[in-house]
Structure formats: C-alpha cells, structure tokens
Amino acid sequence: MIKVTTDDIKAISKYILDISGINLDESKAYLVETRLGGLAKEYGCSSYGELCSIAKADSKNTIANEIINAISTNETLFFRDAGPFEVLQHKILPDLIDMKTGKASGHLPIPIRIWSAACSTGQEVYSIAIVLKELLPDFNNYNIKLFGTDISDSAIGQASHGTYNKFEIERGLSKEILEKYFIPNGGNWKISDEIRAMVSFSKQNILKPFKNLGKLDIIFCRNVAIYFNLEDRKKLFENLASVLEPDGFLIIGSTESLTGICPIFEPKRYLRTIYYQMKKSDLQTNV
C-alpha cells in the first residue's frame, strides 16, 4: 500500500474537491490509501501526488472518473430509513396529486416528476418507483418521470442494469415486494422491466449546472451534502431550489439539517419525518 504524505493529501484532496465536490481533510488520509491505493498501483504511481498529476494530464478524464468511482461512497439500501417513503406515500404524493388535479385541464395525464439526486446504485429511485406503482392503481392517468443521477459512472451503470446481489436486497425489501418487482437471476435479483422503464439514469455532478432535468415536483437529495464543505452545501441547495416547482418538495437525509445553509426552505414535519418546501414569502420576493 502506498502511504499518503502531507503534501499528497493536500494535492489529492484539492483535486478531488475540484472534480467532485467531495471534501476530504487531513483526517481522511486513510480513505485516500484504502480507496485509491489500488488505482495508484495500477497506474504505476509512486505517490498520490503523481496519480493526481497523471489524472490532470489525461484529456479523456478516464483516470478522473476512476478516482470518482473509487472515492465516492455508495452506501444505500432499498427503502433505506422508512421515514421518507412513508412521507412520500401518505403526505407528499396525496398533496401533490390533489394540487395537480385541481389545476389539470381536460383529460391529460397528470405529470409527476421526481429526481433522486446522487442515486448511487439506484436503490432509492427504484424504491420510489415501487411506492408509486403500489399507491396509484390508475397508473395510466399519470405521466410519471423519475430521474436518477450520480457522479459515479460505475454506480450509474449498476443502477441502469438494475441487478443486485443478495446482500444488497436482503434488508428493506419484504418477500412480497421482492417477488413482485424483481426477477431472480442466478444468485442475484434483477428489477422488473415495468419498474426499470419508469426511471431515466444519467451521470451528473450535482455541483455543476443540471442537464435535461427541467422542473421537478419532488427531489430526494439524501446523505450527499454531508460529503461537501459548507460553501458547496449552500450552492447545492440553492441550485436544487432553482429547479424545484414552487410547491415542490425536498427530502434530505434524516440526520441532515438546512439550518444556516439554505433559508429558502422551510422544514415541515409529518409523523416522525421532516420534509422541506420553499417559503411562500421567499417565492414572492423572488418573482
């Protein structure tokens, strides 16, 4: 294992911050060693500073992508933390559908657009799709678009393929849901075509301008900002506000807070979970 030096950590953490927004301070030196050690060796580098230099010189960004794949954390589960999905099912979707039905003209399907920002390997966005499918028996009356984006192309690749091993599916999914929406495939499970077809996946660094997403009704951005510094967190939530419909909903991680980060959003409680909407007063001043 190549040991990380003080100079190394400065160079590599600055580079990682630039390409991904992930904020590594000196206390995270071990992460550089465990997650980038293999890559440094593969490219014959004698230090992480050298890995950084060859990544910068690589005009195809292959090494940069490999660094992002290795350093980003893909910890996720189906229905990770029941709270957000209960809020989605019992509060947000009913409210949204009420609002949209009131505004809808004629017999056009009601549009619902949901974004799982930093979707990792897809478990969150597929869980959302399953909630929708279970909740809306009159599915054809809606025009549902789900988007899953992540900075890591390997995570997006797995998400798009929709195949999970037994460790990835073993918690969070009831036997009933598993058998209804997954197809056994060797020792693995593949998401059913009807659920897969509801979601579009693409690569997106959420600190960069958003591509092809349009306005969203609901944004899930859970446990992503925790890896960013304060300045990038502020930027992230302001950017999210700019693509959210005025009455739209934002869900962040259960241990995250927007206090002192983004005053545009107002926390609201439903049972034991908090979701956010934009303050009406801020909306008026923005108009």
Partner: protein, 188 residues
C-alpha cells in the same frame, strides 16, 4: 464464531464416511444423509450453514433438487455440489441456481476444506457488515431525532423573530402598543 453446521449428502457410503471423518476432525458439526429424499427431510426440519451434496443420486431427488430445496428454505445456506461427471454446463447451471461451489470427484479434501474456509470467511464478513449496519441504524435514528427536533425548534424561533421584527419595523405604531404586541407574540 459458532461451529458451522454441515449436511453431507451422498448415496456412496464410502464418500459419506470419509466426509464425516475428515470434516469432524477439522472441527465441523456434521450430519449425513444417504440420498436426496433423506436430505430433503432434514433440510425442512433444521438449518444448515453448508450442504455438501452429490449431483447424481438415485430415488428421483438429485443434487440440483437438494440445492433448490435448501435455497428455498433458507437463502443463508450455502451449497457445494460434487460430481464424478463434471461438465461446464452442469457447473454453470448449479451456479445459476445459487450453488457456492462445484467440486470434482474423487474429492480432494484439502481443496474442500479451503473452499469451506472461504465460505466461513464470507459468512463472517456478512455478519460483520450486518452488525455495522445495525449499529449505524441505531446511531442514525438517535441523531435524526435530535437533529429534527432542533431543526423544527429553530424554524419556529425564526418565525417568532421575523414576526417581532415586522412589528418593530412598522412605522406608524405607538411604542406602548408595539411592546404589547411583541409580548403577545412571545407569550403565544
């Protein structure tokens, strides 16, 4: 870690005896069944960590059926298939159905114990990962309760502050009334 419970299934009494002897010596807790039917009965009545079964057995229940039965009963059970007539097709089929390994007969016991140790490490890692997730969940739930409580309290206080601000900033209000209004807001 607790001793792994093993079931060995083979219609050949010699192989079965050898497996029992060698694996007991290695410290495994081993039971045996002389055909697929017997194995099926044992599988439905108790849990085994690892099942080592012959592929071709008489009586209409072969190793592939034992594998399927074991996996349906409990996906935590790992199955190793053994056969004298090893073929790539069979091996692929077994792996597709969730077998952990596929060994050629006659059994090389050194190889078998190596594979079993691999399964033991894998199970240990899985257990470790599950424990870590449990610990993370508990910590996360506790932290979430505290943070969400603070988030709501701060938002309420901010609303109070901005209401008071509005009262104070309003130009044409007499100072006495202004104080009364502020006290009202604070007491509500």
């Amino acid at each position: 870690m607790k001793q792994l419970k093993i079931l060995a299934v083979d219609d050949d009494p010699f192989t079965l005896k050898m497996l029992e002897k060698k694996l007991t010596k290695e410290g495994y807790d081993i039971e045996t069944a002389s055909d697929g039917i017997d194995a099926g009965k044992l599988i439905s009545s108790k849990f085994y960590d690892i099942i080592i079964t012959d592929l071709v057995m008489p009586g209409g229940v072969d190793g592939m059926d034992v594998l399927e039965k074991a996996k349906t009963k409990n996906k935590e059970t790992e199955v190793i298939l053994m056969t004298a007539h090893a073929s790539v097709e069979n091996a692929v089929e077994a792996m597709r159905k969730g077998a952990a390994d596929y060994l050629k007969k006659p059994i090389n016991f050194y190889e078998l114990t190596l594979r079993m140790e691999k399964i033991r490490s894998y199970k240990k890692l899985m257990k470790n990962a599950q424990d870590l997730r449990e610990a993370m969940d508990v910590t996360e739930q506790n932290a979430a309760q505290t943070i969400q409580h603070l988030e709501m309290s701060v938002a309420e206080l901010q609303n109070v502050v901005s209401e008071i601000n509005q009262v104070i900033m309003s130009q044409n209000i007499d100072p006495r009334k202004c104080v009364d209004r502020v006290l009202d807001i604070l007491s509500s």
